[in-house]
């Protein structure tokens, strides 16, 4: 049996008296694209942030390719928390893309992409810059190397943010509502781009409201509700024939609000 690339087991997180995640377990195979959907406040973003320890979970485990990050079970059965240094070392295995892009405003586009590999991974600057330029060219951003983020459109910023994460050569990518802060006409541009990334074989976990995108790009869909995995399975099954009544209600509401972005051209 092959080992899953990402294994989340019994993840739990509370903020004071508010329980965001009750008990979340799922696995992601290498090359798989998993979309996490659910009503706002269901814990989607918290889940993603707990996976790379931007938010520290209260319970449960996260393993990337068999390596625990953060909470770790010891031989004696007791749970041990890794040092911040160790967690910092492990985080680059997962690229994280934020809803608000979170580029560094005081650095040029090229620096935004090159800083991580040079500073954190101590790779030679020359090689990193070559890779960064190649990523920019691939993302349709050639010529923007020396621009500052304030001069870019939302869609361009998000592509730079994705390039910044990819430059660290992560094992998988986590996307936290990557299109929610974008103008409607730019959403499709970024979604097509994500689809291309998925087609290139990147393992991706995407928190999204774009059901159309999930339908066409995701291998699997996880529906979160009340801090639990309420339903999960192949995208077509979960979105086409939902069993959970809350999921049915959720999908019906979404379809009323907006027609899904048309990404149906080439089939996945």
């Amino acid at each position: 049996m092959t080992r899953p690339l990402l294994k989340v087991s019994n993840l739990a997180k509370s903020f004071g008296t508010m329980t965001a995640l009750r008990d979340i377990s799922f696995e992601v195979e290498a090359g798989e694209v998993v979309c996490i959907i659910g009503p706002s406040g269901c814990g989607k973003s918290t889940l993603l942030r707990c996976i790379n320890y931007l938010t520290f979970p209260d319970g449960g485990f996260v393993e990337v390719d068999g390596t625990h990050i953060g909470r770790e079970p010891g031989r004696d059965g007791k749970v041990r928390m890794q040092s911040h240094k160790r967690i910092d070392q492990l985080r680059p295995m997962m690229g994280f893309v934020f809803q608000q892009f979170n580029l560094w405003p005081h650095m040029t586009v090229l620096e935004n992409i090159a800083r991580g590999p040079v500073k954190v991974q101590r790779r030679p600057r020359e090689e990193v810059e070559r890779q960064a330029r190649a990523l920019l060219a691939r993302f349709g951003l050639a010529g923007k190397e020396d621009a500052y983020p304030s001069a870019l459109s939302g869609g361009q910023k998000q592509r730079v943010a994705i390039a910044r994460a990819l430059a660290m050569e992560p094992r998988l990518m986590l996307f936290d509502e990557p299109t929610s802060a974008l103008d409607p006409e730019i959403v499709k541009e970024v979604l097509l781009f994500l689809r291309e990334l998925a087609d290139s074989g990147m393992t991706m976990v995407i928190v999204t409201h774009e059901i159309g995108f999930a339908r066409h790009v995701a291998d699997r869909v996880i529906f979160l509700d009340g801090g639990l995995v309420a339903e999960q399975g192949p995208a077509r099954q979960v979105l086409g024939d939902p069993q959970n009544p809350r999921l049915r209600e959720f999908l019906a509401q979404i379809h009323e609000v907006a027609a899904p972005a048309d990404l149906s051209t080439p089939s996945h």
Binding site: D88, R91, N102, K119
Partner: protein
């Protein structure tokens, strides 16, 4: 009005060399104050109760007492503690401490309004906390607080004139000396004011230039 233009003009050749003293004191004090203000700001975010408490007391003391009194305290107090300082050294330290406090308050205000997103992005890439301070938070913070920071730096220049009270021979004291021999205090003091104003004008112009230059890098 009885204004002696010749006496006014004659004051400048003596005031300009004295202005070098003010400028040197100001530059050293600014450097120390920027370092001090930054260190205090970082220390205040550690959340160590005793430390932030002590800094809080220091801040309210410095903000609640006149800088003139602080300068006297340094001038008479530090030698009493066994530190053998020249008047200029004591004065520089007094101004630097005073300004550190105001700069850390400016920085705290700037921090509280800053978007935490870029910091989270750095954390997610595995950047260590120290590097996040030096490469992500502080550069953005300095760009953000540039206008009030320049204002504080001009306050430092004005503060250098106060060192005349602890025998530092700078612009104001030189003007007083001129007045003592010419009996024309108004002319000498007006010339002194113009010299100090010119220094501050240069600083605020420089600040404006830097601001324009870094405008694109603001978040």
């Amino acid at each position: 009005m009885d204004f002696d233009l010749a006496a006014f003009g004659d004051a400048f050749p003596r005031l300009l060399p004295a202005a070098l003293t003010n400028l040197t004191i100001a530059l050293v004090a600014m450097t120390l104050a920027l370092i001090g203000g930054t260190v205090l700001t970082v220390l205040r975010t550690t959340g160590i109760g005793l430390l932030t408490g002590a800094i809080g007391v220091l801040i309210s003391f410095i903000r609640g007492t006149p800088i003139l009194v602080q300068i006297f305290l340094f001038y008479y107090g530090l030698p009493a503690l066994g530190l053998d300082l020249t008047p200029i050294q004591a004065g520089v330290l007094a101004i630097a401490l005073n300004s550190s406090i105001f700069i850390t308050e400016i920085m705290r205000g700037g921090l509280s309004g800053m978007d935490p997103g870029p910091v989270e992005a750095a954390i997610a890439l595995g950047v260590r906390a120290r590097t996040i301070w030096t490469r992500v938070i502080l550069p953005q913070l300095y760009i953000r607080i540039l206008p009030p920071l320049v204002n504080e730096l001009t306050t430092i220049v004005k503060g250098t004139a106060l060192l005349s009270v602890i025998t530092v021979v700078e612009v104001l004291r030189t003007a007083q000396q001129i007045a003592n021999t010419t009996f024309r205090p108004l002319e000498a003091l007006l010339a002194a004011a113009i010299v100090l104003f010119a220094l501050n004008l240069a600083i605020s112009q420089l600040g404006r230039r830097i601001e324009t230059r870094f405008a694109a890098r603001r978040g």
